[in-house]
Subunit: 217 residues, 2 copies
DNA sequence: GTCTATATAGGGATAGAC
DNA sequence: GTCTATCCCTATATAGAC
């Protein structure tokens, strides 16, 4: 009955792939809903609907709402801050790095425009989550970039200032438009397309804006 | 029985003052809880506890959770955007206005540090609220300030750029640090006091940062 | 693995006494 | 105006059939 063995293996493999597929479908659906509505605004039913499956299955794969959320939050966070820090940690020369930073980071933000609000909101309402999370997943810190700024100052290339103010300002300039998108759109009377080209322009605007401000005259 | 009349009036007045006091207590409590937890994260019980009264009283004064929220949201929003627009609408000369803006607006943000996240989160999850709200309460727009920027450009004082990019950048630089406070604190290893003096420094840093970037060399 | 049906709890809202 | 008790719906979570 060797065919039975084959058959069993075959079925197992199918099952496994289906399992992974479902798990993945659920995560994708959950990501969409959690990012849009936040933890407390999210209903398990909506995730199930979005994934095209049953509520009970959610609990079969992940035991609770909290567990699913944890998965989504971790993924969003990991996907996000380390990406910047990597850019800022590179060996590029300073001015070029500023360019790369805004260009790459704004691209990333355009792909995931809801993440900033999601992270800021959830972190503010649950700082302990951040604590434990940071401890687990971060060896990377902005120390190297802060040092690089200081080196530029020592070399007399840029004005002497608190490097942290510069770093925070760069993050602010890139992230804020996405967090405040609907307000900006309304106050400046922008359509979706208007906003898109506004962001596109911003990729050129920001490096010049920052560098002009930093450079010693 | 004239004393009875006096007595009745007296009681009415007391009642009225008590009523107003309770209403106010409730609003203060609700503001605290809603700002901290957002709409869906807020429990009526927590508002009641915070106000030192009973859940049923909340429904006596405001008919529903939605109604209380509406009151808080309106107040926060009105308290906030118009304040900026007023500064930006003043007749001060340009450079001086930049100074005033950052100084006054950061003061305001320090007094209500939770408002940015609150507004951005609720607006993102409920854009219709914004629509109807804007329509009701805004005659003020940033048009005047945008015009003033353009005038400076025409006069050859500042570099020619999209004025909207400048406005959004100014808002970003002021607001973002408060929205991302816990993350910044953690990433840059700041205590509460550290953060406070970081913000204090920022009041000086930002006007120079912006003006240096705008000025024509 | 996936479904239907159901248990259980939590929270917004109301009734009614004082 | 303020309280206690309670209604009732909704949402998470589980049981159990297939």
């Amino acid at each position: 009955m060797i065919w039975l063995n084959y058959s069993v293996n075959f079925i197992e493999r199918i099952m496994a792939s289906i399992e992974h597929q479902s798990e993945d479908t659920i995560l994708k659906a959950a990501q969409k809903v959690f990012l849009k509505r936040g933890f407390h605004g999210t209903r398990m039913q909506e995730i199930a609907d979005e994934a095209g499956i049953n509520k009970a299955l959610l609990h079969y794969y992940f035991r609770s709402k909290d567990k699913i959320f944890e998965a989504i939050f971790s993924a969003s966070f990991k996907h996000f801050l380390p990406q910047i820090l990597e850019i800022l940690d590179s060996d590029e020369p300073f001015e070029q790095k500023i360019n790369t930073f805004f260009s790459k980071y704004i691209d990333l933000l355009q792909k995931h425009p809801h993440i900033p609000n999601f992270i800021m909101h959830e972190v503010a309402h649950n700082p302990e989550r951040l604590q434990s999370f940071f401890r687990k997943h971060f060896e990377t810190t902005p120390a190297k970039f802060l040092k690089q700024i200081k080196d530029e100052m020592d070399a007399g290339i840029i004005e002497r200032q608190d490097p942290r103010q510069i770093l925070v300002s760069m993050l602010a300039l890139a992230i804020f438009p996405f967090a405040a998108k609907p307000i900006i759109q309304f106050a400046l009377d922008m359509s979706e397309d208007d906003f898109k080209s506004f962001i596109q322009d911003r990729k050129k605007f920001l490096p010049e804006f920052v560098m002009k401000s930093l450079r010693k005259i």
